[in-house]
């Protein structure tokens, strides 16, 4: 019974004890790192196989359709059929493309999506490696995606692809700032960048302490993964598919896998930073429950992102960049200063956190009021509603 309670960690312990006989410690490390590495590197692939089906079903329901329903019960094997198709499809490399860069881009974008999983904690002591710079590592690895996308757009030697790549640079750069600032707010409250430490510190999930930081993170993450309503980098109706227009077969497949891998990763990071990660009822008595709570919370975040995608129309690029620089950045800077001030007050932690909550709600209120006034001014000037 005790074994079951902390099943995953105990399993790992038994395995390590079993393998340690006759092997030097460094070899045990290498073998274990390889196993954990192979499991974690499959995460984007698993994400694609499950989330594409979920997304089609959810978007289908939102748009009053039923989604895939032919391949297997409820169409659950649709993603596998797609994977087989991608694997056996002819690979076309345009004559004008810059071939080494063109071929490297899909590999690099997958690496960017996979490496994020090294620091995401699935449960207590269940993390690839709880680096002391966890949050900063996530941001650093996240920028690999920007480089890979720019490489793909540039190397394709296609005007649509290049336009897509320019938009990517502007968008990913602009939304990285509010994302970094909201993560810095969490780091400020906790005092560590370790993902495990951030989860341990969340006696109350930080979404109830720093709601503004959570909203800013979620919006920035939507933009960073290039999903609707911020999907200007793909914008099927304007620039066809953006940066991966010239890719086909499995090279296109890696872009697709990286996209869903990133979606799962940003949702997992949102869960870790703001929703208490693997924490939940009875988790200290039965640590094996941790991963289940983690997965449930992550799926809820993903569902919200899909809901947003199904509901909102796409923004124009100037509106989108303006929103990042004129709304999200000032709001998260103000939030950071307020949280720092509240942290400095000599009071017990619950009081401090309550003050942070009040400040967050106040900033949200002020931001919404200013946005409403700006919309009214715009409508009076141009005779249009909203925009």
């Amino acid at each position: 019974m005790d074994y079951i309670r902390n099943f995953f960690v105990n399993l790992a312990q038994s395995w390590t004890t079993w393998i340690s006989t006759g092997l030097p410690p460094w070899a045990v490390d290498v073998v274990n790192y390889l196993i954990v590495g192979v499991i974690l590197v499959m995460m984007p692939v698993i994400a694609t196989l499950t989330l594409t089906w979920m997304e089609r079903k959810v978007i289908g329901r939102i748009q009053n359709r039923i989604g895939p329903n032919r391949v297997g019960p409820w169409g659950i094997f649709q993603a596998i059929a797609d994977a087989v198709k991608m694997l056996i499809k002819e690979d076309i490399v345009p004559d004008n493309a810059d071939k080494p860069v063109f071929n490297l881009a899909p590999i690099l974008i997958f690496v960017g999506a996979a490496l994020l999983w090294a620091v995401i904690p699935f449960g207590r002591n269940m993390v690839g490696q709880d680096l002391s710079i966890g949050a900063l590592y996530v941001i650093a690895i996240g920028s690999i995606t920007t480089v890979a996308v720019l490489m793909a757009g540039w190397a394709s030697n296609n005007k649509y692809a290049l336009l897509g790549a320019f938009r990517v640079v502007a968008q990913l750069l602009s939304y990285e700032i509010p994302m970094v600032l909201s993560m810095a707010t969490v780091v400020l409250v906790v005092g560590t960048m370790k993902m495990g430490g951030i989860v341990e510190a969340q006696i109350v999930p930080f979404v109830l302490v720093l709601p503004l930081a959570f909203i800013v993170y979620l919006l920035a993450a939507t933009a960073e993964t290039g999903r609707a309503p911020f999907d200007l980098l793909e914008a099927d109706s304007e620039i066809v598919a953006g940066y991966f227009i010239e890719y086909s077969g499995l090279k296109f497949g890696w872009f697709y896998i990286a996209e869903y891998g990133n979606l799962l990763a940003v949702s997992a990071i949102a869960t870790t930073l703001f929703l208490g990660g693997w924490r939940g009822p009875f988790v200290s008595a039965v640590p094996a429950l941790g991963p289940f709570y983690f997965v449930i919370k992550t799926v809820v975040v993903i569902f919200i992102l899909m809901w947003i995608r199904g509901t909102w129309p796409r923004f124009r690029i100037d509106q989108m960049l303006g929103f990042a620089w004129k709304v999200l950045v000032p709001a998260s800077l103000a939030n950071l200063l307020w949280v720092a001030t509240a942290q400095m007050i000599p009071a017990p932690t619950p009081v401090k956190w309550f003050l942070m909550l009040i400040g967050n709600v106040a900033i949200i209120f002020v931001a919404l009021t200013l946005l409403g006034q700006a919309a009214k001014r715009h409508a009076a000037k141009h005779g249009l509603a909203g925009a």
């Binding site: 274990n32 810095a184 400020l188 090279k251």
Partner: protein, 134 residues
Amino acid sequence: MRELIVARVRPKGGQTVLSQYAFVGIFAIIAFALPIIGLAMSWLIRPKKPNRAKNATYECGMETIGDTWVQFKAQYYLFALIFVVFDVEAIFIFPWAIAYNKLGLYALVEMVLFVVILFGGLLYAWKKKALEWH
């Protein structure tokens, strides 16, 4: 012993920083290997029948006119410049946030000044209409 990972629990001694990053290194190698293996597999089984029309640049059926790699809109460059300023700030904020509880009131005053100066820069860019789309 909190930082010990699931698949590696050693009876005594903690992990060195080098060992932590050894995992990231091995993981990176695996992450590079997987797409390469996948592409190699696909290369073995997929058809290879290129022709000129298929390999032409895709532009909705039109012939491509002119070079793709031309001078681009300077607007993107302005955003990149503002980004650099704020990203450097972010690099500064993280160590500040970690050490904040030990630094006392001085840290708060210093960061307020820093952010106010930066925000002044953002306002300047805003007033100069660098954030608008021309």
